[in-house]
Symmetry: C2
Subunit: 414 residues, 2 copies
Amino acid sequence: MGVEFLNIIETDEAIDIIQEKFDECYTAESEIIDIAESANRITFKKIESEIDFPPFNRSLKDGFAIKAEDSYGVSEENPKKLKIIDFLEAGSFTEKTVEPGTCVEISTGAPIPNGADAVVMVEFSYKSHENTDLEDDEVEILTSVTPSQDIGQKGSDVKKGQVILNENIILNPPKIGVIAAQGIDKVEVYRKPKVGIISTGNELLTNQEELRPGKIYDVNSEMIKAGVNSCGAEGECLGIVRDNYDDLKKKITESLKECDILLCSGGTSAGAGDNIRHILDELGEVYIHGIAVQPGKPTILGIVDGKIVIGLPGNPVSAIVIFNVFVAPAIKKLAGYKAEEEHETIKGKLARRIHSPIGRMQYQLVRVEGDTVYPIFKDSGAIFSLASAAGYTKVSKQTEIVEEGEEVEVTLFN
Amino acid sequence: MGVEFLNIIETDEAIDIIQEKFDECYTAESEIIDIAESANRITFKKIESEIDFPPFNRSLKDGFAIKAEDSYGVSEENPKKLKIIDFLEAGSFTEKTVEPGTCVEISTGAPIPNGADAVVMVEFSYKSHENTDLEDDEVEILTSVTPSQDIGQKGSDVKKGQVILNENIILNPPKIGVIAAQGIDKVEVYRKPKVGIISTGNELLTNQEELRPGKIYDVNSEMIKAGVNSCGAEGECLGIVRDNYDDLKKKITESLKECDILLCSGGTSAGAGDNIRHILDELGEVYIHGIAVQPGKPTILGIVDGKIVIGLPGNPVSAIVIFNVFVAPAIKKLAGYKAEEEHETIKGKLARRIHSPIGRMQYQLVRVEGDTVYPIFKDSGAIFSLASAAGYTKVSKQTEIVEEGEEVEVTLFN
């Protein structure tokens, strides 16, 4: 029961089709979460300020809240005595009104009392004695101040209704601080798309099993789950399925009930025992089978019941590269990331020549030391190259050789 | 009850003292976690391979496992018939031995049977008829192969005992894949230091309270917690405490029982109502009080019962900058990060002149558009500058003016 690949398509076309199908199948959704859990989540809507900030005129200095006109002409040589009618720390307030000839002693952050319109810093004042009996207390001010001096006006930092954060903003610590300043305890963020992950293959063991002849441990489930999670989605490993048409069809059907997107790996080629293509043809429609890329030609995109099923190559190196290049951007967009927040890249000089097949885009794993880029050449199926690989560099399909010493761009694994 | 600052120290000295005190007080600890939860955790020890990989000689191609010498002299013009004695898919194995004149049909990934020492790709073979009766089945091979051809030798990717991951490696998806390939289900990682966070101030409200005259919402608790978590530690908000010596002393004493490190904000200056310094003097010893930096001069480091207590400025902009510059590196080191994995920086041209005080290192908040860097000038106490701030740029204490158009380095908030 063989099947042909569909037209082998170019990498750019594959990226476009995958994005197009994601856009057709999904609309981003939001959820309301506690601000305490909001780190690294992404705003779904613009957030407008619910308050003026500061919420009142407040003192920017420790000193004395006065009527500015009481200070006109005042200097060290010509000080002026004012009666202290109250003392305000941050967090307290007074009903008293500052009249000409009076003032309120005030701490940084405390609200400016009625009647006062400027603050004289404590450095420009002289109190002859410490007196806890406010009735008798007075201060000499030694400088003139202008109206509004050292007052943070209500709403000067932000006004009620002003946009404080746009949509699609990743909530880092300072931005969480901005939300906290509003007294908000909930925030609307992108819901994490739920991504199911299945590994297929008769040779695969779970980490709960003993190694047996002919078997190897499943790599892709946990690796792809971590990749999915790093895209702002929620990966769930749904298990290992044998290369059996009926078992796999049943597993795919059941899994699609539990997730938004399904990622399978293995069984995506065009040989006997490669069942994914057949099953997706039967259950839905296949839009991609075969990309002109190395590694990872046997990549599949199908849609079943309005949900996307991706078939990744079984080889772990191929699977993670194909995931990063083709699938991650679409998941990240659905999870609220802006396009510019793609994988980080660095540049460096190639330490050894790369030979690349004509006609296929190659993603070559590389190790990076300083600004030197070492290609990692391994058998197909080698896994431990991933231990030292910082990321991969692209070699275009027209290029057969990239020479030692050439500058290359490396997309880093995140 | 005033107190003087200690000697105001330089930023570099402060960073050194903080690191030194962390090194004195703490030894990094590890914990064993499930690989499924290991994303972004940091390896505590070298991890050695527990198996040879591949765990057996395996076929790198679909084809026929033969004795190489059976193919010598063979070509399309001079094909050779071999009897097929078994068929092996990936995951299966056979007890049969390949003798001269025989072969085993084999899929990629399947174990090479005894007696065979090379694989002929299916593309270089011809089977005259499909026959399910293996007794009668035979294949014509059309090419010669050398011993070991298209065989992935046992242990060729990694040998048992070989180091696959070093210590202090952040577990990203490919590295998780490498661990998974071992069949390991647990991994030893750095334990997350537990960091308690307290906000102090009579003016502070929780987000469960209504805004009242003279009050503002607590920003620092959730913001600093998010900052702590981004350092690979586990932040816990322990609440708001009033500016009251006894309450704050009790809270600090109790909190230290629940965490490794305690971060307080507010009440760190040298005025009346600034209690943190007094309390730390009473409970333990103060090593830093006052750094020649703007913003954030009133920063404290004390040690109580062998645990570090940091007093951050109450102003949120100061608090997050001081946290990032002085505290985050020490927490990250304790959490297993290597020093080179510090905050990300970018370079850009300054859009407007910055005036900076002589004698204090200034950390100027900036907004970034493309490669243009806009300083954000706001009142002290302004918070919403954090909404647009990408990070900060340093202005050294000898510099009074950084001119428009100069190239500056920006440390990004993460």
